[in-house]
């Protein structure tokens, strides 16, 4: 602080020129500025281009070859890999599962999260503790959560034992090994894992709803439900829309949880695009890359369509403008 005063003194006395000192330096040093830009942004740019963009481009290239990853890349097969993937019932089943999880997440987790957030958005004892505990499943690694559930849901696991002790032994079953219900059990685990995040997101959105509005409506005699429906929900709509976006992208990329609990089984009941990709891709990177590209195109299409119709107003181009 003192130095600045001391130095500003002589600078002021020196005459008319010195006031815009920083600007002069900037103008005189165009080359220097580019050097600094390169120095600062360069490392991040190199890492990003090399390990994010390049692999995605490579995936597009590899996808056109029949390749085991070891021999030279020479057996060009055009779109054969794509045809093969898209005509494999197991992969199509995987796409279907991804979309089932996607829609179920939005239709089930969304209302649950909003409802709970509305209930919890008030002064109450232990609010901090409640929030922290709700968030616990989200903090756990998907692998750790998945393994815990795998143990709980195994035929001789905790869930069946509890059902039997409650006299509901008829309901006991091999939850994740029954092809008829495995996908919905998987969806249940995912809901357990991710609904806490949605609740916290909604609570954060609710913080931004001005009390004056709900108070005014209350004075006008509006019921609690009407206030939530006509005032609160529209005001947290941006939060909801962003959560839907995150949830959709997450559903389409689903991998860890499925891989550690079922590996996509039984008989493909819980297969997803990413699981299919890893199953075949490690020995056949060409074919796996085609699957990756399909996954990417589907995600991008969903994201763009959603952005076009729902997110336009909220993001102001923040996340997706670069891909338009």
């Amino acid at each position: 602080m003192t130095t600045s005063v001391v130095q500003a003194g002589p600078a002021d006395i020196a005459g008319p020129a010195p006031a815009p000192a920083p600007r002069i330096r900037r103008r005189s040093g165009r080359g220097r500025m580019w050097l600094e830009v390169g120095l600062f942004a360069g490392p991040a740019l190199v890492v990003f281009l090399g390990f994010v963009i390049l692999p995605v481009v490579l995936a597009a290239v590899y996808s056109l070859f029949n390749w085991n990853g070891l021999t030279p890349l020479e057996r060009f097969v055009g779109i054969d890999n794509y045809v093969r993937a898209l005509s494999d019932p197991l992969f199509l089943k995987g796409i279907g599962n991804n979309f089932t999880i996607l829609f179920a997440s939005i239709l089930v987790q969304g209302p649950i999260a909003i409802g709970i957030a509305l209930l919890l958005n008030r002064r109450m004892r232990g609010r901090g503790l409640i929030r922290a505990l709700i968030f616990v499943p989200y903090v756990l690694a998907e692998v750790v959560a998945g393994l815990s559930w795998k143990l709980l849901l195994s035929p001789r696991g905790g869930v069946n034992a509890v059902l039997e002790s409650l006299g509901l032994g008829d309901l006991a079953q091999p939850w994740l090994a029954n092809p008829d219900i495995a996908l919905w059990v998987m969806f249940g685990i995912l809901t357990w894992k991710y609904v806490g995040f949605a609740i916290l997101l909604m609570l954060a959105g609710l913080q931004g709803v001005p009390a004056e509005l709900t108070e005014a409506a209350q004075l006008d005699g509006a019921s609690w439900w009407r206030i939530q429906w006509h005032i609160t929900l529209p005001l947290i709509a941006p939060t909801i829309r962003i959560w839907v976006f995150l949830s959709m992208i997450g559903s389409l990329q689903l991998f860890d949880m499925v891989w550690v609990t079922t590996r996509g089984g039984p008989v493909g009941a819980t297969n997803t695009m990413a699981v299919y990709m890893i199953q075949y891709g490690q020995t056949q990177p060409g074919f796996g890359s085609a699957v990756a590209v399909i996954l990417f195109v589907i995600s991008l299409a969903v994201a763009l369509v959603y952005q076009r119709f729902a997110l336009r107003r909220d993001l102001a181009g923040a996340t997706t403008s670069g891909v338009r």
Binding site: A44, F51, P55, R122, V139, T214, P285
Partner: protein, 300 residues
């Protein structure tokens, strides 16, 4: 209660905001609200508690009654896991990868964000859009070619092989969070620094970095949690890359342990619960940052 009432007058705005944001005075709701809250908490916690408590039972006990209470409490499982080199190796490995990723992404991210936020150059918008577009390129899509790339670079089966790609994939979020943060630092500070004879690089080190510390901590915590829980990349780089099992990260290690000793349920439960501990401890320590960072990042 009386104290609260007394305070309400001077700082009424604050309290009211909380009170009435959505509560709007439904008195009948209060016990009901606590009931719902209790139910959600139970649902969130019980599976975790089952694993922890199960770790205190012997495997024959668990097999006899999978949902029973420990009697007697047995510490063997935990002792055995804590005495194994693979648990500590995994912990070490996860820490190295997590810290490396965090430091790397914070450093590279804040440097790039600084340029985007405070330099006026042609192509600035393009640079920002490029990083932002990275959000649309998930690791899953790049995973297979990335593995081959890392193999060709000789990084497969090494810590750097996990750290560098994780930095790359964490950059978009980091930069998107940091740019508005750095832009909000007043321009007067920059001019003052320039008058003091500081170069822009000096300005970066002495003023930008200290002032943006809260933002850096937030992105750092997000990167660390992401790295700590990551599975796919370590699976492809470490497990498939031939790294010794003792040095696999925790998620890989847990998965491997539970496959290898699937018959010894007690040990698997103990190992799984010990694997949860670091993440939970870190969460307690950085809860505000994690929650604030995630919700803030999402709100853009």
């Amino acid at each position: 209660m009386t104290a609260t009432a007394a305070v309400t007058v001077p700082s009424s705005r604050r309290l009211r905001r909380h009170d009435r944001t959505a509560g709007t005075g439904v008195d009948w709701g209060q016990p009901f609200v606590y009931l719902v809250a209790l139910m959600i908490v139970i649902v969130s916690i019980v599976p975790v508690a089952y694993v922890w408590i199960g770790g205190f039972r012997s495997t024959p006990d668990i097999n006899a009654d999978p949902a029973g209470w420990p009697s007697p409490w047995i510490f063997d499982n935990y002792v055995r896991v804590l005495g194994s080199s693979r648990f500590w190796g995994s912990l070490f490995s996860s820490s190295v990868v997590g810290i490396g990723t965090t430091l790397g992404v914070v450093l590279l991210g804040v440097m790039a964000a600084f340029v985007i936020a405070r330099y006026d150059f042609r192509g600035r918008g393009v640079l920002y859009s490029l990083f932002a577009a990275g959000l649309m390129f998930p690791l899953t899509v790049a995973a297979l070619p990335l593995t081959i790339l890392l193999r060709d670079l000789g990084l497969q089966g090494s810590f750097l092989g996990v750290i560098i790609p994780q930095i790359a994939f964490a950059l978009p979020t980091t930069i998107i969070i940091l740019v508005p943060f750095l832009r909000a630092i007043p321009g007067e500070l920059e001019e003052a620094a320039a008058i003091d004879g500081a170069s822009r690089i000096g300005f970066f080190w002495r003023i930008i970095l200290p002032l943006s510390m809260p933002g850096l901590v937030t992105v750092g915590v997000l990167a660390f949690v992401g790295s700590w829980n990551a599975y796919l990349l370590p699976l492809l780089v470490m497990a498939a890359g031939g790294m010794p099992q003792d040095l696999w990260t925790l998620p890989l290690g847990v998965q491997q342990f539970s496959t290898q000793y699937s018959a010894d349920t007690g040990s698997v439960l103990a190992y799984t619960s010990l694997a949860m501990l670091p993440a939970l401890a870190f969460f307690l320590f950085a809860e505000k940052r994690i929650v604030g960072g995630l919700t803030g990042a999402v709100k853009g």
